[in-house]
Amino acid sequence: MAHYYDIDDILMEEQLVTVVFQKEANGVGLLDPGAETNRVEQGSKVEMPFWLAHELHQRQAVSVNLPPCFNQKTRKEIQADAACVDLRNRCLYFYELGCKIAPLVGDRTIGSFLLYTLTSRYKDVLSKSHTTVSREAPKLTKEETSLYETAQSSMIAFKKWRMGGPRFQRASILGRKRKPVA
């Protein structure tokens, strides 16, 4: 239940994956842009959001293909230099999707691959967060970005505590200060 309302969980499950239909389905022609009638034929390759692929896989109606962000090419790039790979572009929810899709495609190596990727990139994430001022970190996935931002805010909190200063703040929801009309 904790995940039902979670925004990141919902958005992560919207990521597209490719599936192959093992059974035909009537009345859902919109799913397959190549369909001529209002049905999807057995054997059709269709792109669909993860939430639908997951449910249909459980009912044995589709088989799920490995997303390109976990294929050999990406793995080689990460082994060469993990911190330089633009994972954000490949898959914003890289780790979350990897965890959920591993049982669906029957790939037992994804787990260790994800762990290797995170540990290789983690040092870079942490050192950048303590030195850079900008809030946005390019190339980082959602999970890495939240680590980055957490490290940044703890740094800011530490500096604030160290230097003192006003402890009562204007409520952040009120937005930027309006210039009072003279």
Partner: protein, 198 residues
């Protein structure tokens, strides 16, 4: 736009805004997603009817109509989840408004709420007020652990003559005062005063 796309856009709106900030309630998209739910429901029913008309057992049949019906059902449930998450996450922010901003919402925030959300805020606020008055305790002050009972403030907007808990002051713009912290907290979080340190 079918199969949960529109609903997902609603949820994306929540994630795009900065944390804790509200966007205007998207009535158009919300209504459109509800219409999609109805469309999925109709498709689902017609596929199920087809199975029954062919004399097959609705519980155990696994033909093309069944899988089509399943996909419509799943899309409906997905839309529901997105709608619920939209309302729920906004409600959490609105709840926190009473604590951060006070019992009266500024116009710029109020116009972003739907009618139900305004009612929700009012009722939540009233429940809190009645609880606090029973305890004779203001729970919305001291949100930061107190160090001194009095603080120095500078007034940013003209507030005028105000009767505070221990004094009556003219809170004119740019004037500085030495106020009880509990009096000043509300004004500071509304942006009408700032704390002076050092």
């Amino acid at each position: 736009m079918m199969y949960g796309r529109g609903a997902c856009q609603l949820v994306k709106e929540l994630s795009c805004s900065e944390s804790g900030q509200l966007t205007a309630f998207n009535n158009d998209l919300f209504d459109r997603v509800i219409k999609e739910c109805n469309a999925h429901h109709l498709e689902l029913q017609s596929l199920m009817r087809k199975i029954q008309e062919e004399g097959l057992d609705i519980q155990t049949t696994r033909n093309a109509d069944h899988y089509g019906a399943v996909i419509h059902h799943l899309s409906l449930v997905r839309n529901k989840r997105c709608l619920m998450a939209y309302v729920y996450n906004r409600a959490e922010i609105i709840q926190s408004l009473r604590w951060k901003v006070g019992p009266v919402l500024p116009q710029e925030i109020q116009k972003k709420l739907s009618y139900s959300e305004e009612e929700y805020f009012k009722n939540h606020s009233a429940a809190l007020e009645s609880y606090m008055s029973e305890l004779e305790l203001d729970l919305t002050v001291d949100m930061v652990p107190p160090k001194d009972p009095y603080i120095q403030v500078r007034v940013l907007d003209d507030i005028g003559e105000v009767l505070l808990s221990d004094q009556s002051s003219n809170l004119a713009r740019h004037s500085m005062h030495f106020l009880k912290r509990t009096d000043a907290e509300q004004f500071i979080s509304q942006g009408l005063m700032e704390e002076l340190t050092g």
